[in-house]
């Protein structure tokens, strides 16, 4: 009895997966093109947000406005859901692919900006004093002390922004961005769950891939000394 219903359930789910796979393979659905649009919808905003937020962070980190930004921007970015943000942007920037790029870029700026500021402010002055004491020039201090200390923090910010942008691309389909999100919205609308699942699985794969990629990047950018220090302090705590 139990095994009977279990095998029915298994057969039903493998049947469903078969439908999803059939949908993905059907050339009429242009899955590849939708996937590519979603990749562009993610890559452009990540790059743009980085190019905008990094200099902004460097410029403001040593000014009083940085404190204001750190205090308010993060709270505001958290309190306004991305759906609401996209909807509010529509009357200002319109709908379609390019407006979606703009909206997603704006969404990605706060984490990178905040982490750049936090990273720059978090440099221990003692580390710079030590470098100066060792006879390093101003340029050497920048290249060998400050940048290696800040990079992992900025990378963490880019990782947060990237994940958020990828996760929001299906919502951007609501404002005409196109991509895999179209399958999700259309699939739910006409109750074609195989289509919706095909879009959802693609998005999940992209999100996990992005996370893995940026986690690796963050690891690579973290100087061996800091990594060793973290391990040691973990051991100490344990």
């Amino acid at each position: 009895m139990f095994y009977g219903s279990l095998s029915t359930a298994l057969a039903a789910s493998s049947n469903f997966l078969g439908q999803v796979w059939a949908f993905i393979q059907n050339p009429a659905n242009a899955y590849g093109e939708h996937l590519w649009v979603t990749i562009l919808l993610s890559v452009y905003p990540i790059v743009l947000a980085f190019v905008i937020a990094l200099p902004l962070g460097i410029l403001t980190a040593r000014r009083p406005i940085a404190a204001f930004l750190s205090a308010n921007l993060s709270g505001l970015a958290r309190a306004i859901p991305s759906l609401v943000f996209l909807a509010i942007m529509v009357p200002i920037i319109g709908i379609g692919f390019t407006p979606s790029i703009i909206a997603l870029t704006l969404l990605g700026i706060p984490p990178i900006l905040l982490n750049t500021i936090a990273g720059l402010q978090g440099i221990d002055p003692a580390a710079i004093d030590a470098a100066r004491g060792m006879g390093m020039t101003r340029l050497q201090i920048l290249g060998r002390v400050e940048i290696p200390l800040v990079l992992p923090v900025i990378a963490a910010g880019v990782r947060i922004a990237a994940i958020q942008i990828v996760a929001t691309t299906p919502i951007a389909a609501l404002i005409g961005a196109g991509g895999l999100g179209e399958y999700i919205l259309a699939g739910v609308n006409i109750l074609d769950y195989a289509q919706a699942a095909a879009g959802a699985l693609g998005i999940i794969a992209l999100a996990l891939l992005t996370e893995a990629l940026f986690a690796l990047l963050q690891r690579v950018l973290t100087p061996a000394g800091i990594r060793a220090g973290e391990k040691a302090s973990e051991k100490l705590a344990a």
Binding site: F16, A87, P170, I184, A197, A207, L208, E211
Partner: protein
């Protein structure tokens, strides 16, 4: 503003009126956070005691957190239908990483000397947990809860995609009918709910932490 001030939109007998959507949004949030806490708390206690568990548990929870909400909800439709459960399951999953990390950090941050004092006073292990560790950890735990509640309110607004009403429904309807007033109304209400919940919990956090600052200061 017209939409917000129109009395017909406040008529509780209409299913998608503002009060009903507000309550729907609130209950999605409260149920998800409550269930999330019920799951995260024992896990965090376990992880705080058996440290080698920390890395695998938090890695798993953060992978869950990486799955985009809209995709997770859509994938659940064949299993749980166009029901609130479809929204609540992902919301609960997303609370785990922040709650577990935060509760573990809060417990670890309790000064071992104070635990020692409790033991010296003849407290049992259970008494030390409930009368020393928990009261000291609580304000930090509430701080994490604030993040979770605000995030959950935000993600819950996506629920309309799987046919579950919430304040996001206003934004979606406004979007569909190109009616900006309704979008703005939805945006204001969602943000107000998030900010209101955050301030409420901040109050609780301050209230719970009140005695502590002075004890710690006089102890130090």
């Amino acid at each position: 503003m017209k939409f917000l001030l129109d009395p017909t939109n406040w008529d509780t007998s209409i299913p998608n009126s503002i009060p009903n959507l507000f309550l729907a949004h609130l209950s999605l949030t409260l149920i998800s956070v409550a269930v999330g806490l019920l799951i995260a708390f024992p896990i965090a206690l376990l992880v705080a005691r058996f440290r080698p568990l920390y890395a695998p548990v938090t890695t798993f929870a953060s992978v869950l957190y990486t799955i985009p909400s809209i995709a997770a909800m859509v994938l659940l439709i064949p299993l749980t239908g166009l029901e609130a459960t479809t929204v609540i399951i992902p919301l609960v999953a997303y609370t785990q990483i922040v709650l577990i990390r935060n509760i573990v950090a809060a417990i670890r941050a309790v000064d071992p000397a104070l635990v020692e004092v409790g033991r010296a006073m003849g407290m049992s292990a259970a008494q030390i947990q409930t009368k020393v560790v928990l009261p000291l950890a609580l304000p930090v735990i509430i701080a994490g809860l604030r993040v979770v509640v605000v995030t959950t309110i935000g993600i819950a607004s996506i629920s309309f995609v799987v046919g579950v009403p919430s304040l996001g429904t206003l934004v979606f309807q406004g979007q569909t009918f190109a009616y900006n007033d309704e979008i703005v109304a939805g945006a204001i209400l969602i943000t107000a709910l998030a900010v209101g919940a955050d301030l409420l919990l901040l109050g609780v956090q301050r209230l719970l932490g009140r005695g502590q600052a002075t004890t710690l200061a006089s102890a130090g």
